[in-house]
Symmetry: C2
């Protein structure tokens, strides 16, 4: 096999943006490229069409009685806008200071390709059966993956599912993620007028949808950080004393966290630390809002319409469907008179916590420890990988979240990057894990 | 003189959009066109350069001892976007159902050109001295006009200032406007982060500027319509019982008002009627808000920044400067912790009420009555014409607001129109006023 870094660069050069129909051909190219690389590693590989973007499936069965691991990842990436904020073009991967800068470098091409490189390097010494399922719709809510998994339980059957789409807690610190927040993403569109009107002639007498949006957002989450939707917190399971103790030992400094995000404060629910608020507390964030005149200077207009998009991050045992329902009910209650409202439900996903006693979790912790030469830490993650709960439910197999990225990798933002060392250690950890698995399954 | 309607169409075809630097040449063409038409009517006319767009000044002195009227208007227009909503192109004037459709038809080319047509028709029978001052920056806050007026008091000296940039109360109902609301237009830009971050990884622990904007807007004006800025209402003069009685007689139906705007309710300060809320109560409206992802579908981002633009409409004796100061102070008080705020002050203007006993107001009422064959009604207007208070202050002359447009003319919106009958009656009323003036000054 060629230098893994050169190969990764080939993949990063393909602008496989799943949200943008103009990149449909690039999506196909990325899928074909991965299937080809896996075929060269001795796998039987296929590119499977779906209603949306294709799935890459590949498998190599070394022995019927050997343990089987299913490795999941995604080859699609987020849009790269705003392009002006990138130091180097998003689809021309560049190494600066030991970091690979490119859209998808960390999320998720670099991480999934570490496993492809691992099995390529093991080649005929592959100690367990390995299957890959790599999708092209993760950044648009994975609409085709779950139906495929449900329809192909036997094909995907495995003793453990390995997912690398989560961050390490700190540079050089091997990390296993055992919890993910769930997601319920919604959009509210408000209309107060049949047309935009002059704010002088009409101001004070007609509905203003921008105000209605603001009033409603202010009633969804207050200035303290509390979500005001009745019943929202009902199913939240508090963290255990053991978890609190374990997290307190993690190398975390609020000042560094603030410096890294450019924030001057970390506002949120009083009484909870930053880690707990990110990992084990649900939240609600407006992801976008728009109404009226947004250009330079001033325009004296009252806009007919306003919209806001918001997402709720959920923790066990909150259920996205139930949360969306109580949110929708609450939105109808707090809608001020004089406005028409349309509510759109975007994607959702269940929160997950995987017990630390699970044997394959121990195998993964050992594999990581050997690669980095340090004890593995156990963390949860604030983000959502909705497919994880689906794998657990449909395949009835534990999921191991072995992340090689960093929080500071600028996922979904300009100047996304992936540390070269994390790519190299990731390949090593992947090989370690496959070698150890027979003792733990 | 050619058919006035054909001439107006020539002016409407010039896209003299003052806010857009790409239309600088069109601005110049519109100014030249007006100066040329006034020269042909026997005026000495000039196009005067400013730091911004040029002013058209013209005068015709019939006798040193005759009364002098200064006629003000503007030849610039609002941007035409969104173009897709126009039934016919904004700069190709079209008559449908007796209405001239074009950007600027009513605001203000049709209205100012009615006076140009009037003096052209009177030609050598002009009974009074007439001066014209026509600006090209009204839609961008008239930055050059006030300095010009202050520097040229003698040149502009007049016994009365005539302004036609306000609406008639109803079709066919001659209307004199004796009050205008003032304006204080501001913008708030908030920053909570150094960069956009992933809403999963960071949600619950970092500032979200879209929420801060919403909380602040909700604290500026509540759901009842009350403005919460301390001291905001201090200088508001309530309307007199006579005004209340006069307005109650106006032909106003809330149902028609709602139908015309496409609103299903007219929310606002409890205890005040719709006319009073538009004309004699101050208000606050967000004119634009934006943050985060505004495209199709969903993006899991917490945006670093958010902004909102808002304008306050003021009534006597509120002062724009003082209102802007208390608003700025309040904004700093309600700014949640963790956000940087930039406050931009856009344009402002004083509110105005002109006493109904003023002789030239009576002359104008007579002139309108004769043109339309109906008693003139006296109204205030919700919009602002900041230059009116400046004319009163600097020239120490009363201002007559003789409007020929209608509220339903779609000012600042797609499909702006001007009724042909209002253009024709406007020319007649203008001639009547000039003929009557010697008896009233």
């Amino acid at each position: 096999m060629d230098n893994p870094l050169d190969q990764l660069f080939e993949l990063l050069r393909i602008p496989s943006i799943s949200a943008d129909p103009q990149h449909k051909d690039d999506i196909g190219r990325a899928a074909d490229w991965l299937a080809d690389k896996l075929a060269k590693a001795g796998f039987s590989s296929e590119v499977i069409d779906t209603k949306g973007h294709p799935l890459v499936f590949a498998e190599r069965i070394v022995a019927a009685q050997a343990p089987t691991v299913l490795i999941y990842g995604h080859y699609d990436v987020q849009p790269a806008e705003p392009l002006a904020l990138w130091s180097t073009p998003p689809f021309e991967p560049t190494i600066r200071d030991g970091k690979i800068y490119a859209r998808g470098a960390s999320d998720d091409k670099g991480q999934i390709f570490a496993h492809v490189a691992a099995v390529s390097q093991l080649k005929d010494a592959l100690p367990v059966n390995v299957k890959f399922i790599i999708e092209g719709e993760e950044e648009v809510g994975s609409p085709s993956l779950v139906p495929f998994v449900e329809a192909h339980r036997e094909k995907l059957k495995a003793d453990v599912v390995l997912v690398s789409d989560s961050p390490m807690f700190a540079p050089g610190l091997p990390t296993l993620t055992y919890g993910l927040r769930g997601l319920a993403y919604m959009e509210v569109r408000l209309r107060g007028l049949g047309r935009d009107v002059h704010s002088g002639a009409y101001g004070g007498a007609v509905p203003n949808a921008a105000h209605a949006a603001s009033w409603m957002i202010a009633r969804l989450k207050d200035e303290m950080g509390w979500i005001r939707i009745p019943g929202f917190y009902d199913d939240v399971i508090p963290i255990s004393p053991q978890e609190r103790e374990m997290w307190a030992k993690l190398p975390f400094a609020e000042s560094e966290y603030l410096a890294e995000t450019g924030a001057t404060a970390a506002p949120g629910e009083p009484g909870y630390g930053i880690l707990e608020r990110r990992w084990a507390r649900p939240t609600l964030d407006v992801n976008g809002i728009g109404s009226g005149y947004q250009g330079e200077g001033s325009k004296t207009v009252i806009a007919a319409e306003a919209f806001f998009k918001f997402s709720m991050r959920l923790v066990p045992d909150q259920q996205p469907q139930k949360i969306a329902e109580i949110t929708e009910k609450y939105l109808r209650e707090i809608l001020p008179p004089g406005y028409q409202m349309e509510i759109i439900r975007h994607h959702g996903g269940d929160p997950v916590v995987i017990p630390l006693e699970t044997p394959v979790v121990k195998a993964a912790a050992e594999a990581l420890k050997e690669a980095w030469g340090k004890e593995t830490v156990f963390t949860r993650e604030g983000g959502s990988i909705p497919i994880v709960s689906d794998f657990m439910r449909v395949l009835q197999a534990p999921v191991v979240l072995m992340g090689f990225g960093l929080e500071s990798d600028n996922l979904h933002a300009p100047n996304e990057k992936f540390d070269v060392i994390n790519f190299e250690k990731g390949i090593e950890a992947s090989k370690n894990f496959l070698r150890k698995l027979p003792q733990y399954v």
